[in-house]
């Protein structure tokens, strides 16, 4: 069974540009999560989808970040315009069902560097 995949693996952009990150969860997983890790700091929650609906987006830092999950399959996270402090590693995770402490399986992450 394929795991969670993310694209691209790395992205280097200039301040003010737009970047779109993609996450493909494990097939059949309704729950999809985005996290971010800024260098040297803890992983922080961004948002949670259940199928195509945003269940919790309390971790989204500001309105420059837009996440979508049309059709309840893959998800995109767009940063527009990117700022220097957006640099970090963006992880996606998916789980099969909500509740019961269902384990989240992580993708390899997208390493974003904003210059």
């Amino acid at each position: 069974e394929a795991g969670v995949t993310q694209f691209p693996s790395h992205s280097v952009i200039e301040k003010g540009q737009t970047v779109t990150l993609r996450c493909d969860p494990i097939s059949g997983h309704d729950n999809l999560y985005w996290y971010r890790r800024v260098m040297g700091k803890e992983i922080k929650f961004l948002l949670h989808f259940v199928k195509e609906s945003k269940q919790d987006e309390s971790g989204m830092p500001n309105n420059r970040f837009l996440a979508e999950r049309t059709g309840g399959t893959y998800s995109t996270l767009k940063v527009q315009p990117a700022e220097l402090e957006d640099s970090g590693v963006y992880f996606c995770a998916s789980s099969q069902r909500q509740g019961d402490g269902e384990t989240q399986y992580f993708g390899p992450g997208t390493r974003l560097l904003v210059l």
Binding site: Y35, G40, I43, Q98, G101
Partner: protein, 110 residues
């Protein structure tokens, strides 16, 4: 690979020794805990979990201990191997809200 952990706590052990990695969690109501391992250039991988109604759980070469009184979680790795070198995160979960610790970098010396 990912350049992380410049300011992470570090633990260096000799191959074959046992490792103990500690984590303090923040919410006394958290009811589920997971230890993740992150190798360079990869995403976090599930190692072992434990629910709040338990205080110990064993896996293959790993044991997780939970002390709810002091909100402390530990991961014990027996007979540490070079392949165990990675950053280890604990995660606390309450109602599907998952929060991670900063992580500890484990280095295994041959």
């Amino acid at each position: 690979g990912e350049s992380v952990g410049l300011h992470l706590p570090t633990l260096s052990v000799q191959e074959g020794d046992n490792s103990i990695i500690n984590c303090a969690y923040s919410n006394s109501a958290s009811d589920y805990f997971i230890w993740y391992k992150q190798e360079s250039g990869k995403g976090p991988q599930f190692i072992i979990d434990i629910r709040s109604n338990m205080d110990k759980r064993q896996g293959q070469r790993v044991t997780v201990l939970l002390n709810k009184t002091v909100k402390h979680l530990s991961l014990q790795i027996a007979a540490t191997q070079p392949g165990d070198s990675a950053v280890y995160f604990c995660a606390e979960i309450l109602n599907n809200d998952m929060r991670f610790g900063a992580g500890t970098r484990l280095t295994v010396k041959p």
